[in-house]
């Protein structure tokens, strides 16, 4: 039976470094992605993610399972990301919705493969991904963090509110404003998706009638 994150952390506290290795493997990708979207630079994101793991390891002796492990870890990550930008230690990018992509060279790593053949579809998919990335990265920091934790980490409201240190009702309003901004910014992509989904729905209805 797999050990919970809290149990793994308690094992690290007891001196079992192999449990820390398990936590590293489990959370390196979500953490690097979260920080990447927060600071908009892959090298900085990796540097900060290393710092998060280091702080988790340093805090092992004083660790007490009062909150979910992910809440604690992502709170460290969020604070580091916000502080790094405020300190100006890292490159600050003014992202425009029309700015060409510069961060993700090469094909996207874990993109769902497009079953339709042809380079044209790949280019379209990449262009869409670039627009989404720029729209997300253009959000104000707190809204961006809320969207990343809600949409990509699939956390519950109480957990996100704990990380961002706000009330649940404030978080829900924050998420609404963020998604409203994205809805406007990404309106063409939303419309394309609606157009793509309609024929499927119509054909499904047609199949049901026949």
């Amino acid at each position: 039976m797999a050990r919970s994150d809290v149990q793994l952390m308690l094992d690290v506290k007891a001196g079992d470094d192999s449990s820390f290795e398990l936590l590293l493997r489990k959370y390196r990708t979500p953490l690097v992605n979260f920080l990447y979207r927060m600071v908009r630079d892959s090298a900085t994101a990796e540097d900060l993610a290393q710092e998060v793991f280091l702080r988790v390891y340093r805090a092992r002796q004083d660790y007490a399972p009062s909150a979910k492990f992910t809440t604690w870890m992502f709170r460290i990550a969020t604070n580091l990301a916000l502080n790094s930008r405020r300190d100006g230690r890292y490159r600050q990018l003014e992202v425009s919705i029309d700015q060409p992509a510069e961060l993700e060279d090469g094909p996207p790593a874990f993109e769902v493969p497009d079953r339709r053949p042809g380079i044209e579809h790949q280019l379209i998919a990449r262009d869409r991904a670039d627009r989404i990335r720029r729209a997300v990265e253009s959000l104000p920091e707190k809204q961006r963090a809320a969207v990343l934790l809600h949409k990509y980490q699939e956390m519950d409201y109480d957990e996100i509110a704990g990380i961002l240190q706000c009330s649940e009702s404030a978080l829900k309003s924050l998420l609404f404003r963020a998604y409203e901004t994205l809805r406007v910014e990404l309106a063409p992509l939303v419309e394309t998706r609606r157009a793509e989904s309609q024929p499927k729905a119509q054909s499904r209805r047609g199949e049901m009638r026949s």
Partner: protein, 164 residues
């Protein structure tokens, strides 16, 4: 519920995490407000669009960098660590205990020692019981059994019977 109040509950409604009472209020508002109905539908579509953003894997050197930084951390020792024996010392102590147990098993069991002590005390008791007889000289003088004892062998008198 009006359009402004919807802001706090729409995301939870679409997540299917709204409370039942909130859910009913949102559904009632969406039924009568076309603008919010369109917005709610576009939020759903937007979430599908956001799924198109690819995940970025950490670089191959990421794990090694974390391990290297963790390895540089000082290993803090607990206050109670002094009570924990070093592995070699613990092994030596355990070996000593095993050896002691093995040696103690090779001596006679305690039950045998008790039996020997009981036999000794019975012989002593019999001697004490017969002590008045043994100290009575009249009895000893007529004790025929003593006359049957043969004299120590001497040269030239081996055929004579000693007279008491």
């Amino acid at each position: 519920m009006n359009c402004e109040q919807l802001q706090e509950t729409l995301v939870a409604y679409l997540d299917i995490k709204a409370k039942p009472s909130e859910r009913r209020q949102v559904a009632a508002h969406l039924a009568e407000c076309a603008a919010c109905r369109v917005r709610a539908e576009q939020f759903r579509l937007l979430w599908g669009v956001l799924d198109e953003l690819p995940m970025v894997p950490p670089s191959p050197a990421f794990d090694a960098a974390v391990r290297a930084r963790v390895a540089q951390e000082p290993r803090r020792t607990s206050f109670w660590n002094w009570a924990r024996p070093a592995p070699r010392l613990a092994f030596a102590a355990a070996a000593l205990v095993v050896l002691s147990l093995w040696l103690s098993s090779s001596v006679p069991p305690a039950r045998q020692q008790v039996a020997t002590a009981q036999q000794g005390s019975e012989a002593e008791f019999r001697m004490i019981k017969d002590l008045p007889v043994l100290e009575d000289y009249d009895v000893l003088a007529d004790f025929d059994a003593l006359s049957d004892l043969s004299a120590p062998p001497q040269a030239g008198s081996q055929l004579e019977h000693p007279q008491m």
